[in-house]
């Protein structure tokens, strides 16, 4: 897949997910999107030295290694997760749905991570890859550690988004 095509695809998927949220009756969709971008961006600031986002077009970067295209990608993953879990488990309490959010976000992220690894967009910094076991998730090039890392990332980003969007 062409890099430009990937970037366009991320933007289109993001717009589509926001449109689905709007059509399903959600209010303040753009505000929610903005808050989610902040949540993801906070995490990207922290973890920036741990990975390398390369080969994207220059306009796709915010600064250094941080790409707004990938921020959009993460935001889409979380919103898609909310759409799936909230629709499938309407009556479940938030504290129980939280665990489903982590599971669904991980399931969506693994193929997405596999794609960006394949495209040469994602690689891992030595200080991180030196801690890897060398095991991969079957049928992918994704290190097994991603299966632990994604729920951890999600366990911090989702509460930030949920808390701030409920108060702001």
């Amino acid at each position: 897949m062409n890099i430009l095509l990937f970037e366009a695809l991320v933007v289109i998927v993001t717009i589509a997910i926001l449109a689905i949220m709007k059509s399903s009756g959600q209010k303040d969709v753009m505000k929610k999107f903005g808050l989610m971008l902040i949540a993801v961006f906070l995490f990207q600031i922290m973890s920036e030295p741990m990975w390398v986002n390369s080969n994207l077009d220059s306009w796709a970067y915010l600064y250094g290694n941080v790409s707004w295209i990938l921020t959009f990608g993460w935001a889409s993953i979380f919103f898609l997760t909310f759409l799936i879990v909230d629709k499938g488990f309407k009556k479940m309490h938030e504290k129980n749905k939280f665990w489903l959010y982590l599971l669904v976000a991980t399931i969506i992220t693994v193929p997405a991570e596999s794609l960006i690894l394949k495209l040469g967009i994602r690689s891992y910094a030595t200080l991180l890859s030196s801690t890897f076991s060398g095991l991969m998730i079957p049928l992918t090039q994704v290190p097994i550690e991603v299966l632990f890392a994604v729920p951890m990332i999600s366990a911090l980003i989702i509460p930030f988004y949920k808390y701030i969007s409920s108060k702001y």
Binding site: M46, P49, L127, L156, I157
Partner: protein, 176 residues
């Protein structure tokens, strides 16, 4: 050893004090500690916690003593802000807490670096080299990291407080 014992004693004293003011303190403390631990585990490649006693480590250089230390800072800051400005909006109190936490953390990091408990991998040191240091020691970039880190952890605490209905905003009149 003195550092580890100091942190444990401060933790016990803080928990005793907060528990005497609010019955949810232990639970809120535990939630916050989980949030801190999640973040420490995930970002462990970015720094070293060194020269602590063997029993102070949980996994590689992730130390439960450091988890207690950061949890103390967060809970104390939330307590101060909640007591000082109880009528402020949630969002205002959230950012004021982050501000206070950042001040505490920068001071503690200064001590940790000087006592050689905190270290950084070479690649991080190289990155810090290009940026100014506060008081000549604490890297300025760390200020941004602390803000990001603490925003996520404090929101984690608030989110689970809400889910379990653990109010931590009233401290008058001792145990309730």
């Amino acid at each position: 050893m003195i550092f580890e014992l100091t942190v444990i004693i401060i933790t016990l004293a803080l928990l005793w004090f907060l528990s005497s003011k609010n019955k949810n303190s232990w639970k809120v403390y535990l939630i916050t500690a989980v949030g801190v631990l999640l973040f420490e585990y995930y970002t462990q490649a970015l720094w070293f916690n060194q020269n602590l006693e063997k029993w102070a480590y949980l996994y590689l250089d992730v130390s439960w003593i450091m988890t207690l230390l950061w949890t103390n800072v967060i809970l104390l800051s939330i307590f101060i802000i909640e007591s000082w400005r109880p009528k402020y909006s949630e969002v205002k109190k959230f950012f004021m807490s982050i501000g206070l936490i950042t001040i505490f953390v920068m001071a503690i990091e200064w001590v940790l670096i000087r006592t050689n408990i905190r270290g950084y991998p070479q690649v991080i040191l190289d990155m810090y080299e290009s940026l100014p240091r506060l008081f000549g020691i604490v890297p300025l970039k760390e200020l941004i990291y602390v803000f990001a880190f603490m925003s996520l952890v404090v929101a984690f605490t608030r989110y689970w407080q809400h889910n379990y209905n653990l109010k931590f905003d009233k401290f008058n009149g001792g145990r309730k």
